[in-house]
Amino acid sequence: MSTTATRPARTSGGGTTRRGGGTVAEWLRRPRPPLAPPRWLAVLSTVGAAAALLVVPLVNPSYVNLTVTLVMVWTIVGLGLNLLVGFGGQVSLGHSAFFAIGAYAVAVAGEAGWAQPAALLVAGVVPFVVGYAIGLPALRLHGLQLGLVTLALAMATPAAIRAFEPLTHGSRGIGIDGTPPAWVPLDHDQWVYYLALAAASLGYVVTRRLARGRLGRSFVAVRDAELVAETLGVNTWQTKTRLFATSAAYAGVAGGLYALLLEFVGPENFNLTLSISFVTLIVVGGLATVPGAVLGAIFVQYVPTLTSSISPAATGATYGVVLILFAFFVPHGLAGLARAALGPLVRRVPGRPKA
């Protein structure tokens, strides 16, 4: 949505079909406006989606709930990372570190006997503070250098976990009690599902607000024209640091949910591969789009499992090939493809369009 808000759409017929002209590659690369369904359709689909999401854990066995919960966990990471990378234009390969901090916050707080919602709050606050502290010096760097600093962060994570052994129990890991509080008549998988659903919905709404409001515009301004933004009174450095810390907090909450879901954390859970899957998530989903995080999360959860059932050797290659293909041919990601495919349909739906 902000793609079109910030960059003038190059084609007037933004969402025309392939017949509109040009090669397939051009058609794929064309920026498109967000879908604009009539109000009744928007309300109906929101309620429908909410209802469906609420019913899922009640009618499905736990292995389905587990993977759907993981999709929501990745969605939360994707929302935060997309805020930073897509809207803010800052690269981070180190979000597995914040994810790990959040997971360990829940594990350690759980050992200390804290209630799960309180532990999840800590899982957001601690990475925010750490992210702010790291962002202060690191965000004075640009592009490649920032990428390298955050890469170092991701690579140091397992070692750092082992180093803080009195707290983290080193390579032995921590078992977590994820059973719901006594007053909740739900199973473990359903309880964590609803926690994740609440966090993901909140994250989704907040991200949309951020992306569309004054803050979102200042993020994009910093991304696209830092000098101009500065002359207009945007404190670019402050903006970037806050953005980084916020994005870290998203990853932290996601990490906390992940820990509650798996009921065990160990240093080997948080390696570089995890960070790479996060980056793949936002690129495949669509940079600078909010729903892209959901589509990307679905991709990283299900596609590697699918490819490995075809051939285990393909799993490692999937991310690489897909990243390259998307970077070259589908820069707007799955969200862009969805707009292209559904745009013409949605425009035909009768009704008063949204303002």
Partner: protein
């Protein structure tokens, strides 16, 4: 769905509608699971009843029918730990042979196929958790066998306990299984308990190196600390003494400086608890320094092909470790019935490397499972767990000692041997060591 949702701006109307939906569904939902809960179990029993006629009275667990027993395995087939995938592939190949020969005859006299589903988890605990759940709920396996890793074992423990599915012969020896055991007896470990390994080696050293001094290299975490404490405790009251101890970081580039410091102590025994390539490095450095001490290595590092021989000619001579698998790399073992059976099996299957330690572990896991299934009285998961924890002097093709298990000790090996490396192969030392 999310695509369309994009468009829905959080308007008052939307919010209200969504809110109503939330409340309504939550209320409706609270009782919803009970029905859903019973469904899989019920359908499982139905499936059993369809095929079972006589055994129907005996309420079999899901995954057990008149013609088939289903077993699940989640293992890294991809990623950095893919080499261990051989455990799952060997398990599958072993039972493919059994099925081709008409199936496995169980205690009730009926022959059944044992079908093994192996799924890839890339050594990612999140994937292991998802795999285990889908194996149990979707494929309705009777039991899990040969799953790899400490993290995998601990993180799925609450689930397998609640579902009542045996998670047998997990590839770990972590002491955590022991503490878990009281409330969750459903998980058993394939490797010797790490604490037991230390105990056996300490006993060996006390008997064979009286009056010796020892220097220990260990991982700087609580696993390393527990190994060090274990040796110190075992040496207490004997004439052995630890005179030097150096921790190392898993993240460091080399252990050379630690080995140099330890060598300066001129200890007679080098307790080398470095893992993987660090073990190779330490052996190499020890030879460079001309430190003449008996080296003791941990079981995971005791792989001749990967870790000992690469240290160089003579560097690993006289290395001591525990033995719970026969030396499959030693051609002179030919003639031993178990070893020959293994070699015949491995050469008949392209995917099984006769020199691979993980494949041998998979072969042992398969034979343990086979024995447990054969000894099982009845057709429930409880019966299988009971059978697996009450082996009495079970002979495996590749185990140097007979396997005896008890319900109060969640590891396969209560008895192990000690082996000494001769530069080319392992020689078994005299004597058995039994867990305290």
């Amino acid at each position: 769905m999310s695509i369309v949702r994009t468009a829905g701006r959080a308007r008052p109307l939307t919010t209200l509608a969504a809110g109503i939906a939330v409340v309504a569904l939550t209320l409706a939902g609270c009782s919803g699971r009970d029905a859903a809960d019973d469904a899989p179990a019920a359908s499982g029993e139905d499936a059993g009843d369809d095929t079972t006629t006589a055994a129907a009275a005996e309420d079999c667990s899901p995954g057990f029918t008149e013609t088939e027993v289903r077993i699940g395995n989640s293992i890294p087939l991809s990623g950095p730990a893919a080499a261990y995938g051989a455990i799952g592939q060997t398990l599958q190949a072993y039972f493919d042979d059994v099925n081709a020969a008409g199936g496995l005859e169980l205690a009730d006299g009926t022959q059944r196929d044992v079908s093994v589903s192996v799924v890839d988890d890339g050594y990612d605990p999140a994937k292991t958790a998802a795999n285990v759940r889908s194996l149990v709920e979707q494929e309705e396996v009777f039991a899990l066998a040969g799953v790899l890793g400490t993290g995998a074992a601990i993180s799925v423990a609450p689930y397998v306990e609640e579902a009542g599915v045996p998670n047998l012969f997990v590839g770990t020896g972590t002491d955590a299984l022991q503490s878990l055991h009281a409330e969750d007896p459903w998980t058993t470990g394939f490797m010797p308990q790490y604490g037991f390994e230390v105990q056996a080696l300490a006993e060996y050293l006390v008997a064979h190196h009286p009056g010796a001094t020892a220097a220990i290299l260990y991982q700087n975490d609580d696993f390393g600390e527990s190994v060090r404490a274990g040796f110190e405790e075992a040496f207490e009251g004997t004439d052995l003494e630890i005179v030097a101890a150096e921790p190392y970081e898993l993240a460091s580039a080399s252990v050379d400086s630690q080995v140099t410091t330890l060598a300066a102590s001129e200890a007679d025994i080098f307790l080398d608890w470095a893992v993987g390539s660090f073990a190779t490095q330490s052996l190499k450095k020890k030879m460079e320094l001309g430190w003449d001490a008996t080296t003791v290595v941990s079981a995971p590092a005791a792989d001749a092909t990967f870790f000992l021989k690469p240290a160089g000619e003579g560097a690993a001579d006289g290395v001591v470790s525990v033995a719970y698998t026969k030396d499959i790399t030693d051609p002179s073992s030919a003639g031993d019935a178990g070893f020959d059976a293994w070699t015949d099996f491995a050469t008949a299957h392209d995917e099984v490397d006769p020199l691979s330690a993980p494949a041998a572990a998979g072969y042992q896991t398969a034979q343990l499972l086979e024995a447990a299934l054969q000894q099982m009285q009845g057709c429930t998961r409880e019966a299988l767990l009971e059978a697996a924890t009450t082996f009495e002097g079970l002979e495996l093709d590749l185990a140097p000692v007979a396997v005896t298990t008890t319900p109060d000790y969640p590891y396969v090996f209560r008895e192990i041997k000690v082996q000494v490396f001769n530069g080319e192969n392992w020689d078994l030392a005299e004597g058995d060591y039994t867990v305290d």
